[in-house]
Symmetry: C2
Subunit: 348 residues, 2 copies
DNA sequence: GACATGAATGTGACCGGTCACACAAGGCGC
DNA sequence: GCGCCTTGTGTGACCGGTCACATTCATGTC
């Protein structure tokens, strides 16, 4: 144990070598667990390492080995529950694998902003995970390969519209299926149709959640109202909800996430429409607050941290060829029925 | 512009040098804007840089210069709104200063867990920001200097109990004052006293918010109920709220954050106690959902991203001595009165 | 016209690791 | 007793930058 407080420059392998009376290469061998080092020598080196408080310099290691054992996460936002949970899942898995995690926030979807962030990420780590639920993320995911040829990129995406997209390095939960189930749940309660307040779609066309909703309506032969474009926030949900509340025909609303649902609930309340007696509302994500709202929110539970872990695992597999490039990890969200959904009011 | 797709090893300054017909040192000078380079030479070098798509290798730079222009943020959680916002503020400021941000999650407050994370942080970047609102963060903040002598550490903390703590590199918002104001608000509405549901205290004794609450009660000559120990989550608030709801004497509840308040609201609802008619509730943070709850939540708005930016600014000042070590940045939270607080019920 | 001065550029060492290779000593086969 | 393989260890170059110092040439000064 080193007790000298004023360790100026931290000890290098050469310092350790001198202290142990061996060459720096031998120290390197000990550090890396190379077999052919005589036990006695190893002991001496380990003692010196301990004594000098040696820690392997990550920067030098990165320069020499060409790999930094660091990944960068690009996201449009760190505060949304889903995004934050994914990040936490990534960090957890990365930590377990002794990788460090860097983070970059995409402040806009503008091409140059995104490009700048991707480049920063490219020379900060040796892999990139993009949370691509929104236009900024999608653009990053699209342009990254072009901007930095040999930077492995993994995307956390919505359920891809087309069949599993060849072998793109993507992870997702089946939110199309989840939206389908949530919609069916509402229809099965007796609602004639289900309105939808959408999160901003990641693709130019329409989001996976929208697709699942639409599919359920179609199968049930229900009419398909125009989705209301929301944002990610309660404020967006509130605006959308206000419009829906004004239409007496609306009896069931599915929301792209729980924050939107919260805004919708509020708008319905302000319009004097009772939930679930007059209108049913369902959300998406099962954020921590969903269960504690009044009425508590029927929603779809998403395993975001699991998604984050899977994203890292996939990237890890690419970075260390050894690790198998895991079979596309897809988890299935689970519908959680609470107070906010119920049968429609008897026909007036 | 380089159009060759297969850039094997990326160009180094020596490649650029050869291409431009100068020495690598001249390239280095151009990159760093050294004055004494003949304009014509500079042009040639710049052309070569552009042509080869040269990007300065961050790792080599870090090794040679001894500084990596990276900071690490240590936090117990990335999903809480406050924490996530602080992180976002840090990232924003760091990006503006061309620093990259790494993140480490403290999974427990156990000594070795924390120590391991601090060490990882120490050799990942050249500065550390610790979000120290909870035991894990506090321990990290406390032990970091001992674990890694010359690693600059900045703490995002609760309002320190003692006078500004010498010259500790800390940033905070005056949440003691905020709690004081929120409590006074409730008292001024006519409540005899205000109950408090606490977030886990960061110190062994009591949190700044608790102190502010206590101070307001004392000044008003109100009785001081035992604070109810909550967690950070709605679930914790719900448990605490259930207990408080059972006591008819309770007419006003201040909560350590908005998630707790949400749980308390729910518990009161379940107990059949109307808010604000029978019981007033106030939160802390002004999370995005606070305004959209029913009833909407009276709370204290905290400038978390500003706090994050300040934390980075402080660390930045330490890292680059040039930058002034900003005067301790303290922002003042603002009380936002909404529907959840009102006068107590007329004495029955 | 000799010499100090400064601008423009190049050379070598270094940061702290890794890798490829050289080399000495010991065990084994024949 | 010689060659040969294996084990243990050391040497030198390298990763891609920076820094300190040397060098060249043009200019100004007396």
């Amino acid at each position: 144990m080193n007790v000298t407080g004023h360790t100026r420059r931290p000890a290098s392998i050469r310092d350790v070598a001198t202290a142990a009376g061996v060459s720096y290469q031998t120290v390197s061998r000990v550090i890396n667990g190379h077999p052919s080092v005589r036990p006695a020598t190893r002991e001496r080196v380990l003692a010196a390492i301990d004594d000098l408080g040696f820690r392997r310099n990550a920067t030098a290691l990165a320069l020499a080995s060409g790999r930094s054992r660091a990944v960068t996460v690009l996201t449009a936002n760190t505060t949304h529950y889903g995004y934050a949970s994914i990040l936490q899942g990534i960090e957890e898995a990365a930590r377990a694998a002794s990788y460090s995690v860097g983070i970059g926030v995409l402040e806009s979807a503008a091409e140059d902003t995104v490009a700048a962030e991707v480049r920063r990420a490219a020379d900060a780590g040796d892999g990139l995970i993009v949370i691509a639920y929104d236009p900024a993320g999608v653009r990053a995911l699209d342009t990254a390969p072009g901007l930095s040829a040999d930077l492995p990129v993994v995307g956390v995406v919505e359920t891809p519209a087309s069949p599993p997209g060849g072998d793109r390095p993507w992870v997702w939960t089946d939110d199309r299926e989840a939206a389908y189930q949530a919609t069916r749940h509402l229809l099965s309660l007796g609602h004639e149709t289900v309105h939808y307040v959408a999160i901003p779609s990641s693709t130019r066309r329409t989001s996976a959640r929208t697709t699942g909703w639409r599919q359920a309506l179609k199968e049930a032969g229900a009419s398909e109202p125009r989705p209301v474009q929301g944002s990610w926030s309660p404020a967006g949900g509130h605006a959308a909800g206000a419009r829906l509340a004004a239409d007496p025909a609306v009896t069931a609303v599915l929301c792209g996430n729980d924050d939107l649902a919260l805004g919708v609930l509020r708008a319905l309340h302000e319009a004097g429409r009772a939930v679930p007696d007059e209108v049913s509302v369902a959300g998406f994500d099962d954020a921590p607050h969903a269960a504690y709202l009044t009425p508590s929110l029927t929603t779809v539970r998403m395993d975001f941290t699991g998604l984050g872990r899977a994203a890292f695992a996939l990237l890890h597999g690419v970075l260390e060829k050894s690790a198998q490039v895991a079979p596309r990890p897809v988890s299935v969200p689970e519908l959680v029925v609470r107070e906010s959904s119920g049968p429609p009011p008897a026909r007036g």
